[in-house]
Amino acid sequence: MSLIISATIAWLFGFGIYLLLKPSFLNLVLGVALLGHSVNMSLFYLGGLKTGTTAIIPEGSEVLLPTQLDPLPQALVLTAIVIGFGMQAFLLVVAAKASKSNNTASVEKMGGDL
């Protein structure tokens, strides 16, 4: 299973970078989104993958058993997903506004300084 997940992370990351380099502003936003998704997934993966257990303290115990999942990376991923979501929403609006104000859909033609 870890092979599938690693492959997915790599594919998302690579495709995200590819989209970032394309001229259209929509591809830019999608590229950032995919990059964010791949990194979130890698955070999840790096927290340790186990099947059949949870990160919740079981009945009758006071601490997490060592065979259970680590809850901290799950909390990190949740925070990262929410932050990424907010950023993507803002980025979409800015990209649309920039495209409209400059009358072009190509980031290269948008010009400005440099």
Binding site: L28, D113, L114
Partner: protein
């Protein structure tokens, strides 16, 4: 008081929300300035506590480490925090004159004040936190507020600048998060104090360190990741621009000092790559500035170049280098903010930032004098603060036997002087070639715009005449840093 480390954040948050609810623009402006003053007071008090009784360990929500998130407030953090809060106060006072009540709508003024308060929550949080993921969260708070501040102006140029700034910084954040995951996987902790004292770390910590390094370099605008800065900064309005210039890249340099200054555990040799990176940043920044024809573009490139000085000092990996970097930070935050205020004043009075259209500044003796002080300080002339800052950087380079980079830093100083003299001649000496009428500013406007410029210039002069009053603070900060790390690599 028990809440001292979070007080600046709480005050900024409270005033940000309060300013959002205000309906009258005169009250809004007074309220924001009051908020900035309150934060300065809180920071000063925190600084007093830290310098008299040592670093403060503060566990958020009283959750004990290693399960909780800790704020670690040491002298470096309070120095940065105090100076940042003073720059914010200066920028707010400047904005009172730059945007007189009648000129800007309530909505756009609210945008500036509320968003700057929220920006500062992120800035102070980044300075005080001791946990890597918490740092990521504060970076994102900082980032989204800066996006919104950039995007306030609806013109096409600003919007495209916002887009480019946003995308490049979000890529940096993604790398930060990736490195973070690897750090957690290699060491099982995200708390910086624990990380430094751990004995055995798995080898992938080097990869984690590289990714974090990449993210912090992006944030500090270091070669090869600095192009987002000159692309986006010139489209900002002067008060926000002065804040961005004086604060945002310095947060990046602060994180580099904190995490790589004393060697990242498992990746100590990465510190020395900063010599080359800093050197290239210095020279490329100043070459970029040499061909620009717009005051804001020139000064933006100079930010990059001066960051190079700080990084090259860090790259020596010595205590002297760390002291040099911190002293340079203090000097640079003040001088850069001042220069952007002056550029903003010129823009307000003469209506242009292009050097071609400026001129006749020679009638304005006071401003010319103040510009001369700040520009010479940037270039490193005695008896101004820039001289001592560059001298200590040079000393640390020579002591480390990095003679090439020392020579390069001197050469870059010459080019910096060339750039500043270009602005001097074009804006202050030559006769105007195009007849653009100059605005008459009211007394209140002149006072609130020139006031911060005068005070910051006095600070530069004072720091240059009495460097021994400021240096012990930097040395104390370095001493605590090295103590925490248990020695330099």
């Amino acid at each position: 008081m028990i809440l001292a480390p979070v007080l600046p954040l709480l005050i900024s948050m409270a005033f940000g929300v309060l300013c959002f609810c205000v309906r009258d623009s005169k009250f809004l402006r007074s309220l924001s300035n009051l908020g900035a003053l309150a934060v300065v007071a809180a920071q000063a008090w925190l600084a007093l506590q830290v310098f008299t009784s040592g670093p403060i360990d503060f566990a958020l929500g009283n959750w004990k480490l290693p399960f909780g998130i800790g704020f670690f407030v040491d002298p470096l953090a309070v120095i940065m925090g105090l100076i940042s809060s003073l720059m914010v106060l200066a920028a707010f006072v400047f904005s009172l004159g730059f945007w007189p009540k009648a000129s800007a709508s309530l909505k756009s003024q609210k945008g500036f004040y509320v968003l700057t308060h929220f920006l500062m929550i992120g800035v102070y949080g980044s300075f005080f936190t001791g946990d890597l993921f918490n740092l990521y969260v504060w970076f994102e708070v900082l980032l989204i507020s800066s996006f919104a501040l950039l995007g306030l102006d609806p013109s096409g140029r600003s919007q495209s600048a916002t887009l480019k700034y946003a995308v490049l910084n979000l890529v940096g954040s993604a790398f930060f998060l990736l490195g973070l995951g690897l750090v957690y996987n290699s060491s099982g902790t995200l708390n910086w104090q624990d990380l430094q004292s751990l004995e055995s770390l798995s080898p992938q910590i080097t990869w984690a360190a590289f990714l974090l390094f990449f993210a912090f370099l992006m944030k500090s605008a270091v070669f090869p990741l600095y192009s987002w800065l000159p692309t986006s900064y010139p489209s900002l309005a002067a008060p926000s621009l002065a804040l961005f210039a004086g604060l945002l890249t310095k947060v990046g340099v602060y994180t580099l000092i904190r995490f790589f200054g004393t060697g990242f555990p498992g990746a100590e040799s990465m510190t020395f790559s900063m010599l080359a990176l800093g050197g290239l940043t210095m020279i490329l920044g100043v070459w970029g500035a040499a061909i620009q024809k717009n005051t804001k573009s020139i000064l933006s490139f100079h930010i990059v170049s001066q960051i190079g000085y700080m990084i090259v000092a860090l790259g020596t990996g010595t205590a002297l280098g760390l002291t040099a970097c911190i002293f340079y930070l203090i000097h640079h935050m003040v001088v850069k903010t001042n220069l952007f205020f002056i550029a903003g004043y010129l823009e307000k009075k003469y209506g242009h930032t292009d050097l071609e259209y400026l001129g006749e500044g020679r009638h304005h003796l006071l401003l010319g004098f103040l510009f001369a002080i700040s520009a010479l300080s940037l270039a490193g002339y005695p008896p101004l603060s820039g001289f001592w800052a560059k001298l200590i950087v040079l000393e640390s380079l020579v002591a480390h036997q990095a003679y090439f980079w020392a020579g390069l830093s001197l050469f870059v100083g010459t080019l910096t002087f060339y750039s500043m003299s270009k602005i001097w001649f074009e804006a202050f000496q030559k006769k105007k070639t195009h007849s653009i009428p100059s605005q008459t500013l009211t007394g209140f406007q002149s006072f609130t715009m020139l006031g911060p410029i005068v005070l910051l210039s006095v600070w530069t002069l004072a720091m240059g005449l009495f460097p021994s009053a400021f240096l012990p603070y930097a040395e104390e900060a370095v001493r605590i840093l090295i103590d925490q790390a248990g020695g330099l690599p």
